[in-house]
């Protein structure tokens, strides 16, 4: 008799689908494999403890996990207490990208859009996103007015949105 054994559990299934996304985001922020593993563990345990925090009708699980992972990793990097409850993180539909090939393609597209931005805009967005710097910290570092930094960050995000709408 042919016998095909199934998955060990829903959690294992979710882990296998999304752990590489979660780990890559945590590692990019923290640059340390041990710390990234801790965030990976924390994010999936939160999902296990509070599955109701994710709204399946809106957005995609992959994107939601990526966003809360980035936020947790920044909290860990900056040694601060989490300020946003995961249940309050609601995002509009974004790609799920459970499949590696699809994710690689989207990642290349994002890098393409980032590459086409003016260097000052790209670095403002990257400092805010991957280093968790506030707009005043960025303004201090670059010597630019606060308002300019804010405008750059928002315009950068909107540019990404537009690239994926087309």
């Amino acid at each position: 008799m042919g016998l095909k054994s199934g998955d060990q559990g829903a959690m294992a299934e979710l882990y296998d689908r999304y752990s590489s996304v979660v780990y890559a985001v945590a590692l990019r922020v923290l640059g340390d494999t041990g710390a990234a593993e801790d965030v990976l563990q924390e994010v999936f345990l939160q999902l296990w403890r509070r599955p109701g925090a994710f709204d399946a009708a809106r957005g995609s699980l992959g994107s939601w996990l990526a966003v809360i992972t980035r936020n947790r990793a920044i909290d860990s990097l900056r040694k601060r207490r989490p300020e946003t409850d995961i249940e309050d993180v609601v995002l509009s539909v974004a790609p799920d990208l459970a499949a590696d090939a699809e994710r690689t393609r989207a990642a290349e597209k994002v890098r393409g859009v980032m590459g086409s931005m003016a260097p000052a805009q790209r670095s403002a967005l990257e400092m805010a996103y991957w280093e968790g710097m506030s707009h005043s910290e960025i303004a201090n570092k670059t010597g630019e007015p606060l308002g300019t930094v804010k405008t750059r960050i928002r315009a950068g995000l909107i540019a990404l949105r537009k690239a994926f709408q087309n």
């Binding site: 990976l40 563990q41 399946a56 968790g132 928002r154």
Partner: protein, 257 residues
């Protein structure tokens, strides 16, 4: 400058979790009364997700998976309800697809429950009722959610793995969960399209999907017209943008049981 424009830049910072203290409180206050800005915040968070997803790198070490599963096993959310022998016969039949579907339905119900809780002033009794119903659902779903439950799909001896799809459709909610496995890979620019075949009229598009490297795929809550009655579900191969009507022969089809 309109009210929304005034908040536009702060919303971007809020979406990045970069707004603290008084600035954050001010935006929170505005968000409480402004649906347009809440929507914009959700979109900006979606934009930040694109940035996050651009991170690529090595897979996590194997030990991280075991560490998580061990931690999950130490934290059973739900009581054990079914003995192993009974569980096996159940799960052999239901398989992983049913597991995932129940989990997804439970997720959306739990979310509804939490939304109700936030609205306690106006709906405290309904919330309590809802919570009781969800407790019952959790109790019923316990054996499905148990991480150590064994799940086995039996197929005919010596048969190669067959493509298999399962659709779970709740007409009253317009809610559809579809899961497939062993789906053959597709040529570039092509995708599978799922169709809801109504009792009368043309097939209704019910989502486009591509299998992952292991042949697994899912479609969760595609946009569907309200109250559509499903006689069957079917799958064709279409261009990856999807098609309003099937253009190729039906590859897989199934009627309700």
């Amino acid at each position: 400058m309109s009210e929304h424009e005034r908040y536009a830049e702060d919303l971007a910072l809020y979406a990045l979790d970069a707004l603290q203290g008084e600035d954050r409180a001010r935006v929170d206050e505005h968000l409480a009364s402004c649906a347009a800005c809440r929507l914009e915040l959700e979109q900006l968070r979606g934009d930040t997700a694109l940035l996050a997803l651009s991170a690529t790198g090595p897979r996590p070490p194997q030990r991280a998976r075991q560490r998580l599963l061990d931690a999950v096993a130490r934290e059973p959310r739900l009581p054990r309800m079914v003995e192993a022998s009974q569980r096996r016969s159940w799960w052999g039949w239901l398989g992983w697809a049913a597991t995932a579907a129940v989990v997804i339905f439970a997720l959306s119900l739990w979310r509804e429950n939490s939304a109700l809780r936030q609205n306690l002033l106006s709906a405290s009794s309904r919330a309590a009722q809802n919570r009781r119903e969800l407790e019952e659902l959790r109790r019923l779903a316990a054996p499905i959610l148990e991480p150590d439950a064994q799940r086995v799909t039996l197929v005919a001896a010596k048969a190669p793995p067959q493509p298999q799809g399962k659709a779970f459709y709740l007409r009253s909610r317009g809610s559809l969960v579809f899961l497939a496995n062993n789906m053959p890979p597709l040529p570039p620019q092509k995708a599978y399209e799922l169709w809801l075949i109504p009792a009368s009229g043309a097939p209704i598009p019910a989502g486009v999907f591509k299998p992952d490297a292991r042949g697994n795929a899912s479609v969760v809550n595609p946009p569907l017209p309200a109250g559509a009655e499903a006689k069957a579900f079917a799958i064709t191969v279409e261009n990856e943008a999807g098609s309003p009507a099937p253009t190729t022969p039906v590859l897989m089809v199934g009627a309700g049981e």
